[in-house]
């Protein structure tokens, strides 16, 4: 995609949907006004393992306003016991009242439907349940000996996603090392907690089902619902124009969506289910706990000779889900001998899921702290150690990187941060009562892309034209509406205000999941291709129309600016899109085009990189930890919207602070109960915790990666941050903390 100086791509344009959001006009899943709407409330198990021995709904059924209660006794029998859509990881193993088995504490065991949310909530407390308790495993440490290797699956193109991976000879590499680090790092269970909780409204009309959902994957929701009910996909209509944050937990369709549809079918009226904040802990996934043992070997000059990274993370008893912390290790440094292994252990908890930078967020913590430990042992600057082992080509695949500006990121970031002022001796920098420390870590995330299809139509809008561009993508609050509008406007030669971009509807052409930081690359490329095709169609109409001033001019010689056609030669011929369209029957032109990754995935390794620098200040009395500043320098290819990109990056960095210092889901080992399941007790940072966040995008022109030259930026912002902060805390205090979150308890 050629850079267009006069174009809108790259500009810090405000969100096109900003006004709708601040005025409350944006309609989120729970906001849709539906005639005859009823309210479903999920009753959850209060044991962690076993089965429902009896469930008495007589009192609940008679409670005021109650329409019905769905349990495993009366729920409709779904094809394949509700597992027809299960094809992990896309389709999840759900709990849909097909039996009385209980796999975790908080599992849905009934749905109460009433005329109001309050009535349903109250009646839900009246459902009387007795259980036969089974064997419980809710303690990660106790279950650790039961860990098993991840079942093998084929590698994906361009990225080795196998659970077990070896190159070279790690034992020989370690034996040849002058210095070794062998440590264990742990990260806790975390839960996503987007501002908007999960919500779904299900409404049947004959054999057609409409679901107003909040989802990161419109087509995934459609297919999951359709397969689960044994329906044709086109009989399910998913509507999800606004999503109030997803971060991975809305990437899969969870039980409540199907339960809303089941209740709606059973009780023959539209049913809305909105999860409470407490219900966000368990039934809709979270980041799994990890235990990572890392062994590093290096020569005395810092050259890495071997890395072994063994990750153990937990999953549920109903599905294998992996936090692939060790995958990032395979490509981070030029080390000839490497082993990266993943193991799972089963706990009676809700199945974990993707959470912002799954794998990289936890892996860049452990590896980058291990590198800091190695640097200290080598008496080397941590930045010099990283440069010593800089990978010019991908050590995993041996392929060249499509682009890699990491060296520049290190340089620019270090300069802005003032890295040279760091004192190597831990615990020696002071400012009054504050112990001060500097730390750094590398950030990275792969660039993915999936096929996407976009329909673009140019039509009259009064005396002007507008383009309506549609695809079933999603905007999680990140700015998809805006960047797609910019891409479409530039491709068509229109002002952004002449473009209406629409998403979030399964009647639109398919776009991939908004996950893996690939919406911009996938859907953006398809928008570019479709709008370019549409423009060529309109230009061809003009060129072929004897009544057009452009008649006879080759379409490729015609340029468009703000809807006006001009020739690239000296010809004075000109007219507008509106004039061309006005002469067309129907006064509209449409193009539908797809874009998909190609040979580049086999030729190149494609990743975004960055360098994160953190300052930590620790009160020498109370050991309160403060992060006064973070500097992140990133190479992410083309920046599509400077303002939104900056917001994306600082949001990732804020979450990195949260991961480093705040978040931990507590599961009671005695019964698998989620203990701190609210936002008072599950702590995320407040504004006062966040100070200076500096983001720099270094210039990076990537001609190979995709038609718009952009790498995804959804996840890279969180990566590296926890590692940089942990390293800064060590530099400040001399206390090496190898677990997250790091709290003052650890420093007293």
């Amino acid at each position: 995609m050629a850079t267009n100086e006069s174009g809108s791509v790259g500009k810090p344009m405000n969100r096109v949907d900003g006004r709708l959001k601040v005025t409350g006009a944006a309609r989120y899943a729970a906001d849709w006004p539906i005639d005859g709407l009823t309210y479903g409330v999920i009753v959850q198990s209060t044991i962690g393992s076993g089965r429902v021995a009896s469930i008495d709904v007589s009192r609940a059924s008679k409670a005021r306003g109650v329409i019905g209660v769905l349990t495993h006794k009366n729920a409709q029998k779904l094809p394949d016991k509700g597992r027809a859509a299960v094809n992990p990881p896309a389709g999840r193993v759900l709990t849909l009242l097909q039996d009385g088995e209980v796999h975790y504490n908080g599992q849905p065991i009934a749905v109460v439907v009433a005329d109001t949310f309050e009535h349903a909530t109250d009646a839900a407390t009246m459902v009387a349940v007795t259980y036969e308790k089974g064997t419980l495993a809710a303690d990660f440490d106790a279950a650790f000996p039961s860990a098993y290797p991840l079942p093998e699956k084929p590698a994906e193109p361009g990225r080795n996603t196998r659970g077990h991976y070896v190159r070279g000879d790690v034992d020989a590499g370690l034996a040849s090392a002058d210095v070794r680090i062998d440590q264990t790092y742990t990260t806790p269970k975390e839960n996503h907690n987007p501002m908007e909780p999960h919500a779904a409204i299900a409404s049947w009309e004959g054999g057609q089902l409409t679901v107003y959902d909040t989802t990161q994957y419109v087509y995934g929701a459609r297919d999951t619902v359709a397969k689960t009910f044994g329906m044709k996909p086109e009989d399910v209509h998913i509507i999800s124009p606004f999503v109030g944050g997803g971060f991975g937990c809305k990437g899969s369709t969870w039980s409540h969506v199907l339960l809303a549809a089941m209740a709606s079918q059973s009780f023959k009226r539209p049913v809305k289910i909105v999860l409470t904040r407490r219900q966000m802990f368990g039934p809709v996934g979270g980041r799994p706990q990890t235990h990572q043992r890392i062994t590093l070997g290096a020569k005395s000059d810092g050259t890495l000779t071997a890395i072994r990274h063994v990750t153990t993370s937990h999953t549920s008893f109903i599905e294998d889900f992996l936090e692939p912390s060790g995958i990032v290790t395979r490509m981070l440094y030029a080390v000839p001998n490497l082993e990266s292994t993943h193991r799972l252990l089963k706990l009676n908890v809700g199945t974990p899921t993707y959470q912002r930078a799954p794998g990289e967020a936890t892996g860049t913590f452990s590896v980058e702290v291990a590198m800091d430990e190695l640097a200290e042992k080598l008496h080397m600057d941590p930045l010099a150690l990283r440069l010593k082992n800089y990978a010019e080509t991908d050590p995993d695949t041996g392929r060249p990187f499509s682009s890699k500006a990491l060296k520049e990121c290190y340089r620019v970031g270090a300069e802005l941060f003032g890295w040279s002022k760091r004192k190597a001796q831990a615990g020696t920098m002071r400012d009054g009562k504050a112990m001060v420390g500097y730390g750094l870590a590398t950030a990275t995330y792969p660039t993915y892309r999936s096929p996407a299809t976009v329909r673009a139509r140019m039509e009259m809008n009064g005396s002007d034209v507008r383009a309506v561009v549609q695809t079933a993508s999603q905007d999680l609050g990140t700015g998809t509406y805006t960047i797609m509008t910019q891409i479409a406007a530039d491709a068509l030669g229109l002002k952004p205000s002449q473009v209406r971009f629409e998403l979030g509807d399964s009647h639109f052409p398919k776009s991939p999941v908004s996950g893996g930081s690939m919406s911009a690359a996938s859907t953006g490329s398809a928008v570019h291709v479709a709008c370019t095709a549409l423009r060529q169609q309109v230009l061809a109409l003009a060129a072929n129309d004897p009544s057009s001033p452009m008649h006879g001019i080759v379409a490729t010689d015609i340029g468009v600016s703000e809807g006006r056609l001009i020739t690239r030669s000296d010809s004075p011929a000109t007219e507008t899109y509106a004039e061309v369209l006005a002469r067309q029957p129907g006064k509209a032109v449409e193009a539908t085009e797809s874009s998909a990754p190609g040979e580049e995935t086999k030729q190149f390794a494609m990743h975004a990189f960055g360098a994160v620098f953190a300052e930590a200040r620790i009160d020498s009395d109370t050991r309160t930890i403060r992060i006064p500043r973070l500097v992140g320098a990133y190479g992410v290819g083309r920046v599509l919207n400077a303002k939104l990109a900056h917001s994306q990056m600082i949001s990732g960095m804020v979450w990195g602070v949260s991961q480093a210092l705040r978040e931990e889901t507590e599961v009671d080992p005695r019964n698998g109960r989620y203990v701190n399941a609210d936002l008072a007790e599950y702590r995320v940072p407040v504004n006062a915790d966040i100070h200076d966040l500096d983001v720099i995008f270094v210039d990076e022109d990537d001609p190979h990666i995709n038609p718009i030259g952009a790498k995804g930026i959804g996840e890279i912002g969180i990566t590296g941050v926890a590692g940089a902060i942990a390293n800064a805390i060590y530099n400040a205090t001399g206390v090496r903390v190898r677990h997250l979150p790091i709290r003052l308890d650890d420093l007293l």
Binding site: T125, D621, T622, A680, L748
Partner: protein
């Protein structure tokens, strides 16, 4: 939420008499604890008597006024924000203003009242989860926190039945300041309870949290004149910069003359099952020269006998350091 009857009180008599006939009835002031716990089914009143209208009938309930012989009377319906920003409070009892502003969020402080905050209930997660045993919520059902996640729990004043921490910041400052709680019963009888005796230790009956009778309405809190309280300070240590309950906090006032400690007020939060006035720390300080040794001696005395559990062992050292820091900062004022 369950259905309940609701009534707006017409007078103090109406409020206290209405509530006296129904053992489940609750008075509603700011609602920041009560409504929250009703949504969780921890509180299950059948009858709510809204006492907010009383502020319009009896202006004393919403007033902050100097007492004839020194000191301050604070109406029980005074909002936490109004109390925190009151000029007399800021001048004469800065520790109280600081404690209030260290608590909750702006929105909650705008609702929460002085009387309600004295009765704020614990944030123990097991108390708040009706599927777990809790002797405070359901006597005899066992304490889940003893062997559970107890990082936030108390280390002073605990019993085998309950280790829940009192969450109030305001009460810590008030108990340091010798506050007196004025209450009025349904029969119109008035009595004054020293705040230090107002809250009960859990002992065998953690469900009993204060000496307030069911039919009594808190009408005011009196602060005696403590001239040296102008030299007072509150430090709260928590997991984030705002909107978190104390891991440890300290309220301190010092009467210093020529470097000698003539008198002291010391209370601690986040560590006790009730707002923790430390007379032993005060005794340890009085007569000593202001010095790090004095602060350390007071901190050792204050935490003497502290009983931690699995996840809150750090609180002993943290509380000592918090108290030392607060004492030294007050001395430097």
């Amino acid at each position: 939420m369950r259905d309940f009857h609701y009534k707006r009180a017409k007078s103090m008599e109406d409020a206290t008499r209405s509530i006296s006939g129904d053992p489940t009835a609750k008075m509603l002031a700011g609602g920041t604890t009560l409504i929250d716990l009703m949504k969780l089914y921890v509180e299950r009143p059948d009858f709510i008597v809204d006492i907010n209208p009383l502020g319009k009938i009896s202006s004393d309930l919403v007033a902050i006024a100097p007492l004839a012989h020194g000191g301050l009377r604070i109406g029980s319906l005074v909002r936490n924000s109004d109390l925190a920003w009151n000029d007399l409070v800021k001048r004469d009892y800065p520790v109280l203003s600081e404690a209030l502003l260290a608590g909750a969020s702006g929105q909650i402080r705008n609702m929460a009242t002085v009387g309600g905050n004295l009765l704020q209930r614990t944030r123990c997660e097991y108390f708040r989860d009706t599927s777990m045993g809790c002797n405070k919520r359901e006597p005899g059902s066992g304490c889940s926190a003893l062997d559970g996640f107890n990082r936030m729990h108390a280390i002073l004043g605990t019993s085998e039945k309950c280790i829940a921490a009192n969450p109030s910041d305001m009460s810590v400052a008030l108990v340091a300041l010798d506050a007196q709680v004025r209450v009025r019963s349904s029969a119109g009888a008035e009595r004054t309870i020293p705040l230090v005796d107002f809250h009960l230790l859990p002992g065998e009956h953690p469900e009993r949290e204060s000496v307030l009778h069911h039919d009594e309405l808190i009408t005011a809190v009196d602060l005696p004149a403590i001239p040296f309280a102008r030299r007072s300070h509150y430090i709260k240590v928590r997991d984030r910069s705002s909107y978190a309950f104390a891991l440890a906090s300290a309220a301190v006032a010092l009467d210093l003359r020529d470097g000698m400690i003539h008198d002291a007020r010391v209370a601690m939060g986040g560590v006790g099952t009730k707002p923790w006035r430390s007379h032993v720390a005060e005794k340890a300080l009085i007569g000593l020269r202001a010095s790090d040794d004095a602060w350390r001696a007071a901190a050792e005395a204050a935490l003497h006998g502290a009983k931690p559990h699995r996840y809150n062992k750090f609180k002993i050292e943290l509380a000592k350091r918090t108290l030392v820091k607060t004492l030294s900062e007050v001395a430097a004022m």
